[in-house]
């Protein structure tokens, strides 16, 4: 079975308003707000691609790009 694995988080810094919803509700603590109050993926290796940040973002400012890799 192929399962989705993380390629990258695409963050639109123009649209992000720094509300912190994605940061707080991330189950793996992958995201943080930087000094400009914009979201950054600081621990991308911990991402489980649950997509909740992308789906909850009120500003449509974050996309989780995945790719499918064969297991084993």
């Amino acid at each position: 079975m192929a399962r989705p694995t993380l390629k990258e988080h695409v963050i639109n810094r123009e649209w992000c308003k720094g509300c912190g919803i994605c940061v707080y509700f991330c189950p793996r603590d992958v995201l943080e707000l930087d000094g400009d109050d914009k979201v950054v993926a600081v621990r991308p290796k911990d991402c489980i691609c649950c997509m909740m940040c992308e789906q909850r973002c009120p500003d449509l400012a974050i996309e989780v790009i995945t790719e499918r890799k064969e297991d084993g």
């Binding site: 123009e14 919803i21 789906q55 973002c57 500003d59």
Partner: protein
């Protein structure tokens, strides 16, 4: 198509405040429409006035941004003239239940085939934080600085009593449920009402000392429960989420077509 293909990117970033729940409603609704594979040309979004109603400007469907409380009346005209279109009517709590209260109950009673979204943040955000018919007893608002003495409507009970044939509720925290419920609401033949509890950190949250948008969303998780859950029996104060009503009844536009045929036959 991706979610981004359904929006008018030139108007982004949108005008809603940081952490406004209405953006998450937009996000969830777009996911539902994408999952249904609807074309932009088969959807008409009709909205009234308020923060919520600005949603129609951001989506790349046929859109009508109309007058306060009367979105359902305009939507009725659209549906009657082109019944094959999917009509979605996003409204705020004040827009839907106060200014548009009569339009709301009678659209439900007629069983017009359309989807009404009530984006309920319990406040008039755009005009500066006045209390709405959904604010509830004890709430602080700009127009209720010593707390509100009005009781609130229960949108689900009201829509059910008025005859809506699909009635559901969810919150901006539960975005996957927003997607699933809006999918079903759009597919439902008849008047669908979806109440989505949404946070207004700028007015409702600040006035009532509820913390940030994140705190308000965490509270939605804590204060709601699926319909008929064990938790609800133990704590009756919890607000139920899910689909309360789903039934088939004749829809207004089809009944009207039958009347036209009957009148034409009688005239011959």
């Amino acid at each position: 198509m991706a979610v981004k293909d359904y929006i008018r990117e030139r108007f982004f970033p949108h005008m809603w405040c940081a952490g406004c729940g209405h953006g998450t409603v937009l996000n969830g609704m777009l996911q539902a429409i994408e999952a249904l594979g609807l074309s932009k040309n088969e959807i008409v979004m009709v909205s009234g006035i308020g923060c919520s109603s600005r949603i129609s400007g951001y989506v790349d469907f046929h859109t009508l941004h109309t007058i306060h409380g009367r979105a359902l009346a305009f939507a009725t005209g659209v549906k009657m003239s082109l019944p094959k279109l999917n009509v979605i009517v996003p409204m705020g709590d004040g827009d839907a239940l106060s200014i548009g209260g009569n339009h709301f109950i009678h659209a439900a009673r007629r069983n017009l085939d359309m989807t009404a979204l009530v984006m309920n943040n319990r406040i008039y955000g755009m005009t500066g934080g006045q209390f709405s018919p959904l604010s509830g007893l004890g709430v602080i608002a700009t127009t209720a600085p010593y707390s509100n003495i009005d009781h609130d409507f229960d949108v689900v009970e009201m829509a059910t009593a008025a005859g809506a044939t699909f009635v559901a509720r969810t919150t901006s925290y539960h975005v996957r449920q927003i997607k699933e419920i809006i999918k079903k609401a759009i597919l439902h033949k008849g008047f669908s009402v979806v109440e989505i509890l949404s946070q207004c950190p700028t007015y409702f949250g600040r006035k009532n000392k509820l913390g940030s948008a994140v705190d308000m969303m965490a509270a939605m998780k804590e204060n709601t429960t699926p319909i008929g859950s064990k938790a609800k029996k133990e704590n009756p104060d919890l607000i139920e989420r899910g689909i309360f009503v789903q039934k088939d009844l004749p829809v207004y536009n089809e009944e009207y077509d039958k009347i036209i045929k009957r009148a034409q036959a009688a005239g011959k």
